[in-house]
């Protein structure tokens, strides 16, 4: 879940109430169905992973010692701690040679990975992350986000993630809580729903005018209905090719050979009746995979000469993506 909102909206406060770094003045706060107010502070916190900006690493402890913090306080024996540290280092992609170094010797991205490894050390079911990627450059941030998503695929933790970056919330959150100044919850929904149907004008302004475009980043090519597009087997005759092209209203036609996309040929080149298989072929400039986002597909289509992108499904031809299909995916949502 991602917590997002402008400065002063209380997103960090909300997060810090979960592990009681800030005591709630009223209300109930449950973790795993247990009221946190009745739990011992240290017990509660040891059961909740905590990651903050720049990791909040202990500069006087080596990387391995940092990761071992919670296991050590829980009294694990040395060999178990060492095994766990090595396991986590691998999980977050740290080289074992880094374990004996101090955090200040490492880059911001590496420090952030250590922060995540440290939070995961005792395998807590809940992870709190307070703008963990706020202090690293955009390229590293994007990579760390991808890594976190991949990690979550394996671990299935409950993660509460505070950010002020909408893109980050949309990318990482299964659900997004959008807070307004004063701690008012404006909307709590899936990223797609947040963009598709903002609850009020505040939400609408917050997500921006290009919310349709932002939604494209949330959807993958695989979600579109299958479409073959202007594509024919390379055994087809030139008249078949011209007919298909005319039916689709395009000047290019794709050839399939043995379930693979064989390239584009110009319809004009077929006018003299030559066989499509003999015509000059152009490799697909716009090529996507079923995992590609629609935003990515659209970008490729817009910058290529053909009006569709070819789906490469593990080497096999998986249909095409057309601009029209992308547009329809945005408007065909249930409430419209």
């Amino acid at each position: 879940m991602a917590l997002i909102g402008p400065s002063g909206c209380g997103k960090t406060t909300t997060l810090r109430m979960i592990n009681r770094l800030i005591e709630p003045t009223s209300g109930r706060l449950e973790v795993n169905g247990r009221d946190v107010i009745n739990e011992s502070l240290t017990e509660l916190r040891r059961g909740i992973g905590y990651v903050i900006q720049q990791g909040g690493l202990f500069p006087h402890r080596t990387v391995a010692q940092n990761i071992a913090t919670v296991p050590r306080t829980l009294g694990w024996d040395k060999s178990r701690v060492a095994d766990r540290v090595a396991e986590l280092a691998e999980l977050v992609g740290l080289e074992l040679t880094m374990l004996d170094r101090y955090p200040d010797e490492l880059s911001g991205g590496q420090q952030q990975r250590i922060g995540v490894a440290r939070a995961l050390a005792a395998d807590p079911p809940v992870l709190l992350m307070d703008e963990p990627f706020g202090a690293v450059d955009p390229i590293v941030r994007s990579r760390l986000q991808d890594e976190l998503l991949a990690l979550q695929q394996q671990l299935h933790k409950t993660i509460v993630f505070v950010t002020h970056d909408l893109e980050e919330a949309l990318k990482l959150g299964d659900r997004i809580a959008l807070l307004n100044v004063g701690g008012i919850l404006e909307q709590y929904s899936t990223p797609d729903e947040l963009l598709r149907s903002p609850a009020n004008t505040f939400v609408e302004q917050f997500v921006g005018e290009d919310r349709g475009m932002k939604r494209l980043a949330l959807k993958s090519v695989a979600e579109l209905p299958f479409e073959t597009g202007p594509v024919i087997p390379d055994t087809a005759s030139s008249s078949e090719a011209v007919a298909t092209a005319e039916a689709q209203g395009v000047e290019w036609i794709g050839l399939i050979c043995d379930d693979r996309f064989g390239g584009w040929v110009r319809v004009a080149d077929l006018a003299n009746g030559s066989v499509p298989a003999d015509a000059e072929r152009f490799p697909p400039a716009a090529q996507v995979t079923p995992d590609s986002t629609l935003r990515n597909a659209m970008e490729l289509i817009m910058t290529s000469r053909t009006s569709v992108a070819v789906i490469n499904d593990g080497g096999h031809f998986g249909g095409v993506v057309s601009l029209d299909a992308i547009r329809r995916s945005l408007v065909s949502e249930p409430d419209l």
């Binding site: 916190r45 905590y50 900006q53 909040g56 913090t69 101090y102 939070a119």
Partner: protein, 224 residues
């Protein structure tokens, strides 16, 4: 010994050093003892005062104010004040000297703890470290470079000040200096002063080395 050499009063007369070797050694040991005792007492008291100041923040100003006041009292006056209570004892010498270390030790300790990054404090708390562990395992080590720096200044200044203890008969290198002054004989003065300086430098170096050993993370170069 030639008459000429006797008539002049050289800065240093080597025969005297050999003759009075035991006396010099005794003075040096006394000097070292007084310095170490004073600083040790100062460290203990400063630790308590710092802990109070850090626990109750409103106490920072009163405590630094008080230690600052102690620092302003002339040592001779403070000796005089204590003699009626403790006589011409080692305690009379050590108490003022320890008092003078408090200002620098408390100030540096408080500054050291204040310099612990908030994110680190927050992380330690958020990971469920107990308050005692947070102080001992996280805050104290990170404050150590400041505390060490304060300790070095305290030791160097105390090693110099200990010479004054001679006026209440506590020996040390100050006794040699006093002896030389009274007899207008330069050699003991030179020896006393030189050894006092040397002792300060050696102690300073020792604490510096200890500090480097205790804070290995400060030595590593930042990765590019």
């Amino acid at each position: 010994m030639t008459p000429v050499a006797q008539a002049t009063n050289p800065i240093i007369r080597w025969e005297w050093i050999i003759d009075e070797w035991d006396q010099i050694r005794e003075a040096l040991v006394q000097h070292l003892e007084l310095t170490v005792l004073s600083v040790a007492l100062g460290v203990v008291v400063a630790a308590v005062l710092s802990a109070v100041a850090l626990r109750f923040r409103f106490m920072v100003s009163p405590i630094t104010g008080f230690t600052g006041f102690l620092y302003t009292i002339p040592s001779v006056a403070l000796f005089g004040l204590l003699v009626p209570y403790f006589g011409l004892s080692r305690l009379t010498a050590v108490l003022p000297l320890a008092a003078y270390t408090l200002l620098i030790l408390v100030t540096n300790t408080v500054a050291g703890f204040n310099a612990v990054p908030e994110s680190v404090r927050d992380a330690a708390k958020g990971m469920g470290l107990t308050p005692v562990r947070r102080v001992v395992e996280v805050e104290l080590p990170l404050a150590l470079p400041y505390i060490i720096a304060g300790l070095r200044i305290a030791v160097v200044s105390t090693a110099g000040l200990v010479t004054v203890a001679a006026i209440i008969g506590q020996g040390g290198l100050g006794a040699l200096i006093l002896d030389g002054l009274q007899r207008t004989f330069w050699t003991p003065m030179t020896i006393g002063a030189s050894l006092s300086i040397l002792l300060a430098l050696v102690l300073d170096g020792a604490i510096y080395a200890l500090g480097r050993w205790a804070t290995p993370w400060t030595r590593r170069a930042k990765a590019s």
